[in-house]
């Protein structure tokens, strides 16, 4: 279907855009201490690219625009989960971990014809670190309490504290009541 993205000339054969995406994800898991502890380590790289050529007018004016956007994410996560107490009236389990993320972006823009703008090339970068933990306590096999939190630090955005609480009561074998509270932050570049 012919289009005119960003107000460019309708159905111009010159107008085009392209995106690229690729990622690598590696994960390692190991259980030890009779399966009471589990270690998970993960690393990743994620890349994204976008380019467009927008034709606004034919020669001799020949107005056109070029845009480009590129982003590269790389990071990792380590998590240790375990059963601290199990098999009794009071059971306790949980996990603790940390993750890190590095984000680099580059924006490019160029306009010719009606206006002479650019070339602009704007690189930015951001680093994030988070620590998180959660404990789950089961009492008398029918009441479960969950408390967790994540503290996130960002070099670009305001730091954030994300708590979560939950209580689940299995009143009978057929009835359950669940109360949840959570607060989350969504960083703009997530």
């Amino acid at each position: 279907m012919p289009t005119a993205p960003y107000g460019s000339r309708f159905d111009s054969p010159d107008t085009r855009s392209a995106t690229q995406r690729g990622f690598v994800d590696a994960r390692f898991q190991r259980r030890f201490l009779n399966d009471r502890l589990q270690l998970t380590v993960r690393g990743f790289f994620d890349g994204y690219g976008y380019q467009d050529f927008l034709r606004y007018d034919s020669p001799p004016i020949g107005a056109y625009g070029l845009d480009g956007g590129y982003a590269w994410w790389s990071g990792g996560e380590a998590r240790l989960a375990g059963d601290i107490l199990r098999g009794g009236v009071f059971e306790l389990s949980g996990f603790v971990g940390a993750d890190a993320l590095s984000l680099q972006t580059t924006s490019e823009a160029l306009t010719r014809g009606y206006a002479q703008i650019g070339p602009l090339r704007i690189p930015t970068q951001e680093a994030r670190l988070s620590g998180f933990a959660q404990v789950e306590a089961t009492i008398a096999h029918n009441v479960l309490f969950i408390a967790g939190a994540r503290e996130a630090w960002s070099s670009q955005f305001k730091d954030g504290f994300n708590p979560r609480l939950a209580a689940i009561w299995r009143v009978t074998a057929d009835d359950a009541i669940k109360l949840l509270f959570n607060r989350w932050l969504l960083f703009p570049s997530t």
Partner: protein, 360 residues
């Protein structure tokens, strides 16, 4: 229960990095000061099982979201050190008394939402049914504007459905109803009325050893249905028509000796500079029960009596495709260095759409 009505439909979105960092010096301003959106949710749920075949649940929730990101039309001073300096909002005509107009993502909004949900599921002797009723109310506020109901935020939603076995546990007739209450579009003065659509389907589960099918009619009664429009600077569409009565038929064949592919390529504007001369690429592959297409083309496969496959299209296309059989798998591959859409060419002029077919 998830308060899905709020953040995804009330202007709160998950912005990409460009929203914070991208600027083009022409129409888009960066906002490195963009803050994270935040949301606080409290839920209370109750679930009850009645026997082994019926369960029901009820829940209520409250959500409060802050720093909701939205695009704004604003005015900016001339660029300084590659920074866009905000000087004020545009007037109603989109003009700036000071500075130049740009679009920028900014933390402009907050919203609060309260809602509840009732649901039940039944599953007995092959008969299954479910029903779910959701009610909610959401109010959002953006800087400089009064608090009001957001677009695409219906106050109620009902979903129900069921499936009945027609033949043992191998053939099922299903019926689903979805009803959505009145909601606002963008502009908000446009009201999208409440509607209900019914889907009906007939599906087999291991009807034979090698074959299953699924037939479905969406919007069985051909009800006019509209979706909300998306806010844009200039949008001539206030509400978006959705699909009317639509038929789907899915045939599935499992690994077997008498399996033969008929492959139809529905799109072929990949290599946009063709010679205009047609040629045919023929596969000698036999005995395969799986077809893997490693090329950005649409295919469909059906069962037949013999093995045969051909590609007919512009002869330039023949150079970039190949058949490769590895055991019982037939790969249809496109060479890596050939997928290069070329600027300036009109593929409809010189390229005959490649078409897979077989002769039985």
């Amino acid at each position: 229960m998830t308060p899905s009505n709020s953040c995804s439909t009330a202007g709160c979105f998950f912005p990409p990095p460009n929203d914070a960092f991208f600027r083009d010096g022409v129409s888009i301003a960066a906002n490195p000061a963009l803050k994270a959106e935040s949301s606080t949710v409290v839920e209370l749920n109750y679930r009850r099982s009645i026997g082994e075949w019926l369960s029901a649940q009820a829940g209520v929730y409250y959500q409060n979201a802050e720093n909701v990101v939205q695009q704004r039309n604003a005015c900016f001073a001339a660029s300084q050190n590659n920074q866009d300096v905000f000087v004020g909002l545009q007037d109603d005509s989109g003009a700036c008394t000071t500075g130049v107009p740009r679009v920028q993502a900014a933390n402009l909004g907050s919203l609060r939402s309260i809602g509840g949900e009732l649901g039940a599921q039944l599953n007995r002797r092959g008969f299954s049914a479910y029903a779910q009723v959701t009610v909610q109310g959401t109010l959002e506020r953006f800087v400089g504007e009064p608090e009001e109901e957001p677009e695409n935020s219906p106050r109620w939603l009902v979903m129900a459905g069921g499936a009945v076995p027609l033949y043992k546990q191998n053939l099922f007739l299903s019926l689903e109803v979805e009803a959505i209450g009145e909601r606002r579009s963008d502009p908000r003065s446009v009201i999208i009325p409440a509607f209900a659509v019914v889907d009906a389907g007939l599906a087999s589960v291991k009807l034979t050893e090698h074959f299953d099918f699924q037939a479905k009619v969406q919007n069985l009664f051909d009800t006019p249905v509209y979706g909300p429009a998306i806010a844009e600077d200039i949008s001539p569409i206030a509400r978006v028509p959705q699909a009317r009565r639509t038929f789907f038929l899915l045939l599935r064949g499992f690994a077997m000796r008498r399996f033969l592919p008929l492959i139809l390529c529905a799109s072929g504007c990949l290599y946009s500079e063709g010679s205009g001369h047609q040629s045919t690429l023929t596969s000698n592959a036999t005995g395969f029960d799986t077809v893997v297409v490693e090329a950005p083309i649409d295919v469909s496969v059906i069962a037949g009596d013999n093995f045969s496959a051909q590609l007919t299209g512009d002869d330039n296309l023949q150079k970039i495709y190949s058949f490769d059989q590895e055991g019982a798998v037939l790969y249809v591959r496109q060479h890596d260095d050939a997928y290069l859409p070329r600027l300036g060419a009109d593929c409809d002029r010189t390229l005959a759409n490649p078409r897979w077919h077989r002769q039985s």
